[in-house]
């Protein structure tokens, strides 16, 4: 071997060795819990030193509007544990101080705590002002935590920047100690991909706390695969208790939603899981047969696979009909299709009910079902339902271009279609709550053509959209060609106007609106209760506000 060749080989070997060591170091690197928030005792102490009861009274004005948060499952869900099993971390400064002492943090001369290595117990909290409650909570924490020797730095910014700073950076580079935000849940309690799932702790993922607990991860995986609801409930209850004990992220509060309803409206059964598709059919009115609803804003995306605003989704739920919907108890039940499981629970075979027609009279077939749901897999799809398509078998080949169609979706006959998923999970059924759009109107071969119908939706539901002015109003009228006349709406239509949140109550009082949902705070509640011609409906919302601890710090 020549000298040059030998040197080159040596250089190559050294490079390879370095690469290998870096690689193995990366593999071996586990994110270690940090000295401050990585310690469970510290997190618990911080919670004991936060007067959440008083915060709720200050921010919302009454416990009717919000309750102290306990575990990351909605109290209305079937998976919620027994209250006696959960710790509510009632305000107790002495206990908090004792826990910090136990964790090895002693009070220094300046009144703040230091540990044995001289690290100061100082935390940075990212607060956004778009909603008032993070400001209130952090201001309170500032005062009460100071009393137990914790220094709090409050960093103000806007909502998007907080979301960005906590989600976008890769693990280990997330620059914050604490942040607060709200989170809305689905009817299915599966926590995968959310705040508490370690698999979601990545660049762009939802989990920013970095907390790793093998048992918790096992429980999450087990719950996703268990089809027996009683056993599944037990799994989630155990998981919720564990999260309540470890609090890598604390649930701050469960908020309620309040509605003002004019007394001329009967049959409006609002609830946590109640869906408009159900509610609207029982409504009867005295006087003018058009129900007047006030919404804060609508985007105009009246498309079942594209809508991402609550208000747009309400409309989609009554103009379109979906195979499955949520029941009042929060479970998934058949709506316009029945289904059967097979193939180790990976395949769902749906059979559409007989006689379903769209509002223009054309019958609904499994072609429409196929069309609507496979549009999600279209390479130009930019809506929020990607996960529906990505879980299907054959999606990867279709997305890569090596397959013409998705092998997991098969039309069996005019009313039957089957969907096969890569993995069996009871949560898969949740993918079918999106309405079916008529292929003969929406399909022109392009995504552009598909979304051009966004502001003129045509579906099979009990209401049709007859008039729409962007940002002003929407008029829904009863579908005269509704295929199921026994279940049609009893009123003539719904008139939805854009009303800014602060004017909703005034509009209710004047009778301009029949139904509206103002912000849930004590002033609004009192104002509505004082109005004679309306009554107030309230229920616990399906979501919570949380406070996330960066356990790597």
């Amino acid at each position: 071997m020549t000298r040059n060749a030998a040197l080159k080989t040596l250089a190559l070997l050294i490079a390879a060795l370095m690469a290998l060591s870096m690689f193995s170091a990366a593999m071996a690197e586990e994110f270690q819990p940090g000295p401050k928030l990585g310690d469970k005792l510290v997190r618990q102490a911080l919670l004991y030193a936060l007067d959440r009861e008083n915060f709720i009274l200050a921010q919302y004005g009454s416990t009717e509007l919000a309750r102290v948060g306990l575990a990351p499952i909605s109290p209305t869900s079937w998976a919620f544990p027994d209250l006696s099993d959960l710790n509510d971390y009632a305000f107790d400064l002495d206990k908090a101080a004792a826990l910090l002492d136990e964790a090895g943090w002693t009070v220094g001369e300046d009144g703040y705590r230091y540990n044995a290595d001289g690290v100061k117990l100082e935390l940075e909290w990212l607060v956004y002002e778009d909603s008032p409650w993070p400001v209130t909570l952090s201001s309170m924490a500032f005062d009460s935590w100071k009393q137990i020797g914790v220094s709090l730095l409050i960093n103000r910014m806007d909502f998007n920047t907080v979301a960005n700073t906590t989600q976008e950076p890769p693990p280990g580079e997330k620059m914050f100690d604490i942040y607060t935000m709200g989170f809305s849940l689905d009817a299915d309690p599966d926590p995968s991909g959310g705040l508490f799932d370690y698999d979601a702790f990545s660049a762009g993922g939802f989990n920013a706390s970095g907390y790793y607990n093998e048992h918790a991860q096992d429980l999450i995986k087990a719950g996703k695969l268990e089809f027996d609801q009683a056993k599944r409930a037990a799994i989630y209850q155990e998981w919720a208790k564990l999260m309540n004990e470890e609090v890598p992220t604390s649930i701050v509060a469960y908020r309620s939603e309040i509605w003002g309803v004019n007394n001329r409206v009967s049959g409006l059964d609002l609830g946590t899981y109640a869906e408009w598709a159900d509610i609207i059919r029982d409504v009867t009115l005295e006087g003018d047969q058009i129900l007047k609803l006030g919404e804060t804003s609508f985007d105009g995306k009246f498309n079942p696979i594209y809508s991402d605003k609550v208000y747009d989704t309400w409309i989609n739920k009554v103009v379109f009909e979906s195979p499955i919907r949520t029941s009042v108890e929060g479970e998934f039940v058949p709506y316009i299709a029945d289904y059967e499981l097979s193939n180790e629970n990976k395949t769902y075979t749906f059979t559409l009910k007989e006689g379903i027609t769209f509002s223009d009279g054309v019958p609904m077939t499994s072609e429409d079902f196929y069309f609507t749901y496979t549009m999600i897999a279209h390479p130009e799809y930019t809506g929020p339902r990607l996960s529906v398509a990505m879980g299907l078998e054959g999606y990867d080949e279709y997305a890569a271009g090596t397959a013409e169609t998705i092998s997991g979706v098969e039309i069996i006959d005019e009313r039957t279609i089957s969907f096969t998923f890569k993995e069996a999970s009871p949560a898969n059924i949740a993918n079918f709550v999106y309405g079916i759009a008529p292929k003969h109107i929406y399909d022109d071969g392009t995504m552009e053509g598909f979304i051009s119908h966004n502001s003129e939706p045509v579906g099979s539901g009990p209401l049709v959209m007859t008039d729409y002015a962007p940002s002003q109003f929407i008029l829904l009228s009863a579908n005269e060609n509704y295929w199921d006349p026994d279940n049609a709406v009893k009123i003539d239509g719904v008139y939805i106007t854009m009303v800014p949140d602060e004017s909703k109550i005034a509009a209710l009082e004047l009778g301009d609106l029949d139904v509206a949902m103002p912000a849930a705070n004590i002033d609004n509640l009192n104002a509505m209760q004082a109005i004679g011609n309306i009554h107030v409906a309230s229920y616990l919302g399906n979501g919570y506000t949380f406070m996330c601890f960066n356990t790597l710090n």
Binding site: D186, G193, T382, P470, T497
Partner: protein, 322 residues
Amino acid sequence: MRTYLARRILQIIPVFLGILLILFFLMEHAPGGPVTTMMDPRLTAEQKAILAERLDPKLPIYQKFFNWIGSALQGNLGYSIKHKRPVTALLGDFIGPTFILSFSALILSMLIGIPIGVLSATRQRSLADNAATVFSLVGISMPTFFFGLLLLKFLAVDLRLFPLYGMRDNLLTRNASWLTRQLDVARHTVLPAVVLGLASTASFMRYTRSSMLEVIRQDYIRTARAKGLKEKVTIYRHALRNAIIPIITLLGFWIPSLLSGAVMTETIFAYPGLGKISVDAVNTRDYPVILGVNAMLSLLTLVGALVADVLYAVADPRIKYE
């Protein structure tokens, strides 16, 4: 004149391109993107990355810039990420109310400002003049949003004379006649137009007054009076006509100013115009809309200035541009 026009138009182009380039630069460096604002808990990081690439492809900035200019020249301003509609359609829907609001404010300020300015100039030191001076001072010193809130409280909330929000009372007028519907819009536009027009009214008043004062001191006015012409004729036919001329230049300033100023007023009165759309677009990082609105308003500002200068030349034969 024609060469002047051509020159000015040519000058507008680099300025406009400069503005666009700066805007593009700002967008590139904005933290977060349209996908972060789509806070769906079920999206994994992988899915977000896919969506991000589809919504905002990672091209070099100059390529993006030329693409945008190219399609803009063909009338395509892209698709709104949030609304999933063409930006031109979105602008078309919402520019109407903003125009109505701005022009109402402009007409109002001219109808009130100019006559009072004339009055103030012809009856100097009188009560009317002093009152007008006070009013104009208040007008330019009062923060618009505070004034809006005050009017809202006293006239809309307490006295219930005007509606609280919006541009139309959709419920009341959905089956009414065309006239009723227009009157309803007018009723909804009064408060926002008054609020928006406060500063411009004061400005017109001040400007008219000083312009009139200058004209009145001219010799030809003395001649007119000496000729025995009636005072009214002197004032209105001779003085006013000449005094109006510099006021036309104010239009070039106020028209774009009112269009952008409408953002504030639309927020307070929930008037469904461009203001709301732009603020929303920024909050959701909807780049095509932000670019579209900014580009349009900048262009209008530049064109407005040009139009004002041209009108000035047309109105005053003494002015010659070459």
